[in-house]
Subunit: 496 residues, 2 copies
């Protein structure tokens, strides 16, 4: 059967299905979001906004611009970029016209954007949702629809300078988010490939052995070795040689040592990678981030398109998210800090843009992606664990009245405050009870109430009450705009 015959057959079957009623009526009406997706409620949004602000502030501090791309791309744009994972791409229904797929990451659309607009250098960030038909472990913060926060530097520059800036950015963001201690592992595709070569891995097995090495953060060396030998057909000798290297961790010193290593130094590729690694660490020293960065030969990372430096940041402290996992974990590992998974990752991909350029012109790129969903999960659990409340609005003052029939006066004052740029709420009732107006302030953290009454109207003042202390002052005309708004908590921060 050929592809077009299959397409024909599928079309025929789907037509028949539609005729006999399709999926409709098959199941009851379900009130839910699609599998692997979720709504964000106001509290989650307040936390999300705070995290995004921290990250965007960092990206802007480094002089980045931002771009946006459509949520779907031509299917062919994504084809051949993700290896085995391509099966996780969401396709749109063929409704006549183009074949479209939801974006799988932000890197491929970025490369398409550069090639399409013939841009040869840019420093940009992009924060947007991406889509993967994975089997999601939603309790651990993994979804089919999730955010990526990407920062990339494209352009032909002197080696390792932009690469070092990416690591500096990871360091800044993870420090500012206060997620606990972290470590950034660094390696280089050229060092990995060189290592495979000198250990006797056949060329055509580099990728598959690399993806086995990538499992070392979840599996023991014994299991990884067994997969290499028994499943992937590598010789036991080669596997053992790899085993020696991938246990190595260090800094600039390790790069220097490996440059002297009798076997490793035979590979030109490895030497190039190691020389750059030394250079990278010298810049990281200037950036004062070497305390968290480790040159780790076991770091492999899955994606095909990396060509040079690769890195991954992990949190090393127990976080509420993984409490159950660490409780059943191995004690020995727990002591040196159990990995709660990657919170950032990236690397250099000098060939990707060239795949889109009609003439194959290359634009060297290096970038990093912040694993923001995991950060959200940790932040949410922190907020949950804390007794303090998260504000979801920024309202500064509530216009209230103690007496009946003052709706018009309340609305007039409210409009005056809005016009003066003051964040104001008013109840949509003709005669709300004072207690329910005050209760709303307590519930949503509004710090001030402007209370109107017959007497106040007569005197041309309002009574301004601080919700927390119950202090009251009378404020006269012309002073409305000077309402004290100090101490007003921003959304996403804790009150009380």
């Amino acid at each position: 059967m050929t592809v077009s015959q299959i397409d024909e057959e599928v079309a025929k079957l789907l037509k028949l299905k539609a005729q006999i009623g399709g999926d409709e009526g098959k199941h009851q009406f379900t009130l839910k979001t699609a599998k692997g997706t979720r709504d964000y409620n106001p509290k989650q949004m307040a936390i999300r906004e705070r995290v995004f602000n921290t990250i965007i502030r960092c990206f802007k501090r480094h002089g980045a611009e931002t771009i946006d791309t459509p949520v779907f791309e031509l299917k062919e744009t994504l084809t051949g970029k993700y290896g085995e994972d391509s099966k996780l791409i969401y396709d749109l229904k063929d409704q006549g016209g183009e074949l479209l797929s939801l974006r799988y990451d932000l890197t491929v659309p970025f490369a398409r954007y550069l090639a399409m607009n013939k841009i040869t250098n840019i420093k940009r960030y992009h924060i947007a949702k991406v889509y993967r038909r994975d089997n999601p472990a939603m309790t651990r913060g993994r979804y089919r629809e999730f955010y990526q926060c990407d920062f990339d530097i494209a352009g032909q520059y002197d080696p390792m300078i932009p690469d070092a800036e990416c690591l500096k950015i990871v360091h800044e963001i993870l420090s500012e988010l206060e997620l606990g201690d972290f470590r950034i592992k660094v390696n280089d595709r050229r060092i990995l490939d060189g290592m495979f070569a000198v250990c006797g891995v056949p060329d055509d097995k580099f990728r598959t052995i690399c993806s086995t090495v990538d499992k070392l953060d979840k599996m023991s060396w014994e299991d990884v070795k067994s997969e290499m030998v028994n499943e992937k057909g590598l010789s036991e000798e080669a596997a053992d040689q790899i085993g020696q290297y991938v246990s190595m961790q260090g800094g600039m010193d390790l790069a220097e040592r490996l440059l002297q290593d009798a076997k490793m130094s035979q590979s030109k590729q490895a030497c190039a990678g190691l020389t750059d690694m030394k250079q990278l660490f010298s810049y990281l020293q200037l950036f004062q981030v070497t305390d968290k960065v480790v040159f780790d030969l076991s770091l492999a990372r899955g994606l095909d398109y990396y060509t040079g430096v690769i890195y991954e940041a992990i949190l090393t402290q127990n976080c509420p998210v993984n409490v159950s996992a660490t409780q059943n974990g191995v004690d020995e590992k727990a002591e040196e800090g159990v990995s709660v998974g990657s919170v950032a990752g990236g690397g250099r991909y000098d060939g990707l843009v060239g795949m889109f350029d009609p003439k194959g012109r290359k634009v060297p790129c290096v970038g990093v992606s912040i694993g923001i969903e995991r950060v959200f999960s940790i932040m949410e659990q922190k907020a949950e664990a804390s007794a303090r409340k998260v504000r979801t609005t920024e309202t500064q003052v509530m216009v209230a009245s103690a007496q009946k029939n003052l709706l018009n006066e309340r609305l007039r004052l409210t409009a005056e405050l809005w016009n003066a740029g003051i964040k104001t709420e008013v109840m949509y009732k003709k005669n709300p009870k004072l207690l329910s107006q005050l209760q709303h302030c307590e519930d949503s953290g509004i710090p001030l109430v402007a209370i109107l009454g017959e007497q106040e109207l007569k005197d041309g003042v309002v009574k301004l009450r601080t919700v927390h202390s119950r202090e009251e002052v009378r404020v006269g005309p012309g002073r409305v705009c000077t309402i004290p708004v100090k101490g007003v908590a921003s959304p996403g921060t804790y009150t009380r």
Copy 2:
């Protein structure tokens, strides 16, 4: 064949297709975005950010929270909500599992969210992309993927208070965006239905006649009448009676006059709508927005789910966007200000949430959607027409050197500035020319350059140069953080 047998057969065929290589290699590679979609470049993003900030500031001033929902919903969630326009919904491919569609607006997901979480009152905004397989007129700012900015108030309140706040919000946003003069047309579904009833339109023709009336902003009354009579089979007499009403415009006075109207007052529905309209205008007076609001009986609006007040804001000045259209336009109309189309719209929909609730419990809602894409278009054209440059970064200072071999010193100072929270750039070259460093500042509007040289290093200072005036000062240690950053333009604002 049953549906599940078909599903099985399709799955088998698709698996086979994947094995033999799928769609790959079938067609030539095209470098483009999907039809009706576009990338946003950094300049467009800077403008977008500025517009969003203005709108979000307004929403927050009114005490709104924000939520987010997935980009796709179960297909059945969208079914039966959009009438004829349902054909414009993007469906995802059936890849096994649930049938999904991209959201068509933010209102239906909002109603689904309220019903699913049993929320009976909330004031929320939601800014996100929606999808319609329309034939887009991209030059006029219409796309298949576009943003909506929605603000809605859900809850059982006293009549017309939240409705008035929605109109106040439209007034504030359109004023702050400085798009030129505007008008907000208001009507009520109950007034329209009552009018149709007393004019002798048969019940089953209300919706279709309503959608013809909706075309009055683009078609002459003669053409509208002809469509009613010739295409929709309405009697000429009924059409003429409608014609008399839909030419009426006014304010509270018109509502009062129609309440006395011999024919109109026969309809209970119309009277309820007209009484509320009077109430609405009294609140709008308190909010000081009656200067822009017109009660207009020709306003119909397409969507099925409206049950009460409806409104639509239009710009009344010639804008650069529609220059070509107005040049060929009718002179008579041009003089009273040609409509450049709707920039905001909304209304009351008290039945939508009940459609999702298993027990049909209603949650009254009223809301407004800002037509943000049209606003972007206008803003972009304004920026294009202006000679001034739009900044796309917020960088405050560039660390540069005039001499060679000072990369390490530049990087060290750059890191110091980043750590002090100062937005800083540095060139990724070992030995960049001073001229190209200064040129980059000119190009991207960076106001300050910190210049390092042998002499400065010896003296322990940096030379701080103001790009615009070329003034230079020498800054000593401990004063690095006090770099004057006044007059630094934000992104999206104009420099020079």
